[in-house]
């Protein structure tokens, strides 16, 4: 597959950019943040995602989705990175939907159509400590009566405070198991964590939470493969969002270089800034290719797809980090003001970098895979 968008994918990109610029530009994020909105995310916008077919991009048509692949999900994620829009797309539409596709017929019928319609928010609870480390999950699920009893604490659960359902990754006797948990179940405590980027996550504490056996998604002890597949798609989409955010910050900076005058000249005339901009441009192009490669590898079901995803997440993360640093620095004093948008990009990039494994996590995977 060529590493460029097809005509249909380009149309999706234009539709996504157009929709977000009209209905959820950066002003939408500011409004949610400044009004201290209790949810921090708009349910109406999520329903509109459903109507546009955005919410169910990776959900099969038989469950009301569009039945598309990773590249299309990445197109949407990149668009969301450009407008910094808080949306359940990544948490529900990508991560949870992908896990649920491996669930029972009942689980799929119960949740996939509602996610695709933008009616339900389903949050995946994986992380426990401050760093993403799915191999070290300690939350435990013990056999209890007809089902299981869950104990543990999760963090960085995307949209967890407004979730209609939680998917909890927990350790069982012979491996990892994924559980579909009603957030209203006794013993589930959820605390919204307002974050630096004004996007949404929660801490979830599970104390002797009883679930039935039919809460298990996939097989008992067999959750690792299912989880890894969902995480890899999520990581590639987070990388696409990083590209979108980094590139948007860069474009804003280029506009500034072309209009801001000092010493009687446009600052973009100074070679000191030209070379830094040209270097950053190169990095962004390289990161874009890496993300496209990862999304393509996932769609092709390639054996090494996880590794390409790691390349993409690590590279896109480092590059977006550079892009927002340069954006603030080249904007000078105004780059430090809340009124200018570049600071918002810096905050969002920091969160996306930490989400689903930072560059260090993914470079570790690269080192392991190459035997050093």
């Amino acid at each position: 597959m060529p590493l460029i968008l097809t005509e249909e994918q380009t149309m999706l990109k234009e539709a996504a950019d157009g929709f977000l610029n009209e209905h959820a530009p950066i002003a939408h994020l500011r409004k949610l943040r400044d009004s201290k909105d209790a949810d921090g995310v708009s349910r109406d916008l999520w329903r509109a995602f459903g109507e546009m077919g955005f919410a169910g991009i990776v959900i099969p048509e038989e469950h009301g989705g569009s039945g598309l692949g990773a590249v299309e999900a990445g197109v949407m994620a990149e668009a969301l990175g450009r407008t910094l829009t808080p949306s359940p797309f990544l948490g529900s539409g990508v991560l949870s939907a992908t896990v649920l596709k491996g669930g029972s017929a009942e689980q799929q019928t119960a949740w996939l159509p509602r996610i695709a319609a933008g009616e339900a928010i389903v949050s995946l609870a994986v992380d426990e400590g401050p760093k993403h480390a799915p191999a070290r999950i300690a939350t435990a699920a013990q056999r209890s009566g007809n089902g299981f009893r869950l104990n543990g604490a999760k963090g960085f659960v995307l949209d967890g405070h407004v979730a209609d359902a939680l998917i909890v990754a927990a350790r069982t006797e012979g491996g990892l198991t994924l559980f579909l948990v009603d957030p209203k179940t006794a013993g589930v405590e959820i605390e919204r964590t307002v974050m630096v980027d004004a996007h949404n996550a929660a801490r979830v504490t599970l104390t002797d939470v009883e679930v039935d056996a039919d809460a298990v998604i996939g097989a008992v002890d067999g959750g690792e493969t299912l989880l890894e597949g969902a995480l890899n798609l999520g990581r590639a989409c987070a990388a696409a969002s990083l590209n979108g955010a980094g590139d948007q910050a860069f474009q804003t900076t280029l506009d500034y270089l072309r209009t801001r005058k000092q010493f009687g000249r446009l600052i973009g005339e100074f070679q000191a800034l030209q070379h830094r901009a040209a270097h950053l441009y190169s990095e962004i192009e390289i990161a874009r290719a890496a993300v496209m490669g990862a999304l393509n590898a996932l769609d092709a079901g390639r054996e090494d797809a996880g590794l390409v995803v790691s390349v993409a997440k690590a590279k896109a993360g480092r590059v977006a980090e550079l892009a927002v640093q340069e954006a603030v620095q080249m904007h000078g004093g105004v780059g430090m003001t809340d009124e200018f948008d570049v600071g918002l990009f810096m905050k969002r990039v920091r969160v996306l970098n930490e989400l689903l494994g930072d560059a260090g996590f993914h470079q570790e995977r690269m080192a392991r895979s190459q035997g050093f």
Binding site: L3, L257, Q274, A278, E285, A289, A367, F372
Partner: protein
């Protein structure tokens, strides 16, 4: 056209049957490459067999038209061929400035006679080319070249000097920038000509570099006769050809960041330093730097692939070659710094058999030219700022 899976299966079977064992595995040094030409040198007889077999299918230039000896493959087929060659670690059968630089320029600007005459020889590795671009007074400011070509009716007489001519002392022919109109503005008085390095009046002098090797020469022209039929493109518009060719040269130099120095860096490092109890390179700081570089290198490979796809789809900006050249050459320099760190004091040896006569150190030093040759990194950044970013005054 054969469907991709059939093509892959056939290609795999053919490569398995035809790529000799000696021609599989990393290319350990520049000397181990096959450059072809009148005085071709092959590391082993098998390398000649391999070249001949690949050339017979046109697979030394897979995407060139079959009528000029090329493979006539589509972009997708060429990708399959490359990936199947990687799978069995097949070495490139031919290293060639003819394939990488001159050929694409001839395909775009050459006459039918020039294409028919030169391209098949290039594909078969029978002619080795060098590039007469830089001069002592024309480095980054290449368009200020002074080598004169004086019009003598049916031929020119060329006088002047080139420098940094890669392998001029081993090349059969040269593609050369000469000034045909000294009165015109500097970009508009240059022509692109071809001539035989055995012509009377051509002499070369190798330049010893910091690596102790001499891949580059000074090249002198003293009343050299050049036939008019060997003009490529339009008279005085050689700069257009030169730029087209430079784009290919930059992609080629950039690609060094992709192929790197043969064996994977992590493997070199573990071979030299060893593993800790958990199977990690027993030098955590170096390990982290290598992992970061390998991520960049893998991303860069994808960028090379994506650019190729964009070119095929007509979506590539010509200046994108500057980005690849800049990034790839800086990447290759970083790789060799890490190779030196991985080798430690073993990599410092300069003369012993054990060190293959200082191969690691000499290759490391050689890479420092990557960000100078073919336009410095700073020139590439200027081009990006001007043509891709349209920054004011760039």
């Amino acid at each position: 056209m054969t469907d991709p899976e059939t093509f892959r299966a056939e290609t795999r079977a053919w490569l398995e049957a035809n790529c000799p064992a000696e021609c599989r595995g990393p290319v350990e040094s520049d000397e181990a490459r096959v450059w072809g030409g009148r005085n071709a040198v092959f590391p082993t007889p098998a390398h000649k067999v391999w070249l001949d077999r690949m050339a017979a299918r046109g697979w030394t230039a897979p995407e060139w038209p079959a009528e000029y000896g090329g493979g006539g493959l589509s972009r997708e087929q060429a990708k399959v061929l490359a990936s199947e060659m990687r799978r069995i670690q097949a070495q490139p059968p031919l290293a060639s400035f003819g394939v990488w630089m001159l050929g694409p320029a001839l395909l775009a600007f050459g006459t039918e006679e020039q294409k028919t005459r030169f391209l098949p020889e290039i594909v078969r590795g029978e002619i080795r080319w060098c590039q007469g671009y830089s001069e002592p007074g024309a480095g980054s400011d290449l368009a200020s070249i002074q080598t004169r070509a004086e019009d003598k009716g049916d031929h020119w007489i060329v006088n002047g000097q080139k420098v940094w001519t890669s392998y001029a002392d081993k090349a059969d022919w040269i593609f050369c920038l000469v000034r045909t109109d000294p009165e015109a503005p500097k970009h508009l008085g240059i022509s692109f000509v071809l001539f035989d390095m055995a012509t009377k009046g051509v002499s070369t002098r190798p330049i010893t570099l910091i690596s102790g090797k001499s891949p580059f020469c000074e090249t002198f022209f003293d009343d050299v006769r050049v036939e008019k039929e060997n003009l490529v493109g339009t008279l005085n518009r050689g700069w257009d050809v030169a730029k087209h060719l430079l784009a290919h040269e930059r992609t080629m130099i950039g690609a060094m960041g992709e192929v790197g120095g043969g064996r994977p860096l992590g493997q070199v490092a573990t071979g030299s330093i060893g593993l800790d109890d958990e199977g990690r390179l027993d030098e955590p700081m170096l390990r982290a730097r290598i992992a970061e570089l390998e991520v960049d290198a893998a991303a860069f490979r994808l960028a090379m692939e994506r650019t190729g796809d964009q070119v095929k789809a007509g979506q590539a900006h010509p200046a994108i070659a500057s980005m690849l050249k800049y990034y790839g050459s800086e990447l290759n320099k970083r790789r060799h710094e890490l190779l030196m760190a991985a080798g430690g004091s073993d990599a410092l040896e300069w003369e012993s058999e054990r060190s293959r006569h200082g191969a690691a150190a000499r290759d490391w030093l050689r890479t420092k030219a990557n960000s100078i040759e073919g336009g410095t990194s700073e020139i590439q950044l200027n081009i990006i700022a001007k043509h891709l970013l349209q920054l004011p005054g760039a």
